[in-house]
Symmetry: C2
Subunit: 204 residues, 2 copies
């Protein structure tokens, strides 16, 4: 058996969801934009069925808002008070993940995380900020998944999406890589307290 890196297979719906999320987060589809099922179906070369599924999913994630018989539109930014609450909740989850993972990361895990950081640096240098955002998220997602599996990812994801929607501006700079590296280094050193501090500092 060759030890080729397993290429990830994404379902059709996941790919569409991914694309739409990018469009929303990048600002290409600003809040209030209406989503037309037929249009989207044509754009992706599918029928309306799968599109509807994706819309339902993104609605549950909080990116879209749907009303019966009236279609879906891109959700608006959160009330600042709710925004603060969401940050608190997301921090709770990520603190949990870091605590759980402390001392339980395999070499493979660490290598994977290093790879993600490299990709992050790359995207940053290319000034591809949409990609930066996606990789940033994937770093965190990797930790969450390792700590709590798909279950935890599912409850964590909406917070990230809502937060991204609120900061449309590009937050990123070289700091971005440094902050994530600090998290990884603390995890490698099995220094739980520092890791938690680093995570808290990164989520804002």
């Amino acid at each position: 058996m060759a030890a080729t890196k397993p290429t990830k297979i994404l379902s059709v719906k996941d790919q569409i969801a991914e694309q739409l999320r990018s469009d929303i987060i990048s600002g290409e589809m600003p809040p209030q934009t209406k989503l037309n099922e037929k249009e989207l179906a044509e754009r992706f070369g599918l029928s309306r069925g799968p599109i509807r599924d994706v819309i339902l999913q993104l609605t549950k994630e909080g990116l879209l808002i749907s009303r019966n018989n009236c279609g879906a539109s891109v959700n608006s930014v959160l009330d600042p008070k709710l925004q603060k609450l969401m940050i608190k909740l997301r921090r709770s989850i990520e603190e949990y993940a870091v605590t759980e993972l402390n001392g339980n990361l395999t070499e493979q895990n660490i290598a994977d995380l290093e790879d993600i950081l490299t990709a992050l640096q790359d995207a940053l240098e290319r000034e591809d900020y949409t990609e930066v955002t996606k990789i940033d998220i994937s770093f965190h997602q990797y930790l969450i998944y390792q700590a709590g599996g798909e279950e935890l990812v599912n409850i964590w994801y909406p917070y990230v999406m809502r937060m991204r929607l609120n900061y449309k501006r590009i937050t990123s700079s070289s700091e971005c890589v440094n902050e994530h590296r600090a998290i990884l280094e603390a995890l490698k050193a099995q220094d739980s307290a520092t890791a938690i501090k680093a995570i808290k500092h990164n989520i804002k």
Copy 2:
């Protein structure tokens, strides 16, 4: 305009979701039970389309678990550590709600909540514990909705569902009503600290 109580209109999908949630929480569909789309469609007298939507929704809520091309089944109970995390998160949300609502409840709100408590007492006396659970949830949901709207309900709901799934046993007794009454009384008295204590005591 007659002052009739506005009867709630539920979409077809919401009604099906409601029914399936009941079946799962009541234990009628224990974990690992597979859901057959065609069967469900026949049971509700619909086609598979709406059923699929509901399955997707309940999957996002954490009640079901789905794999590509393999269908959905009732999710199993949570790892105790994750369970603890979810309780913490849910408490954060409900504390937020109670804090926000303190001093901001209208008379109508209070009357609505009183009605819910009455219904709760009723169901308890009838020993209809599935109904008790539903009304219990609706009490909390009312508060969450008033404090943060649909947005907040959407992130809160999965926690409740997962917690219910974990305690299949009937938790309820006369205490149930008392605990909720304590919350309401504290809110009426605009005593935020007591309200938070009461909420924390109720969520476990």
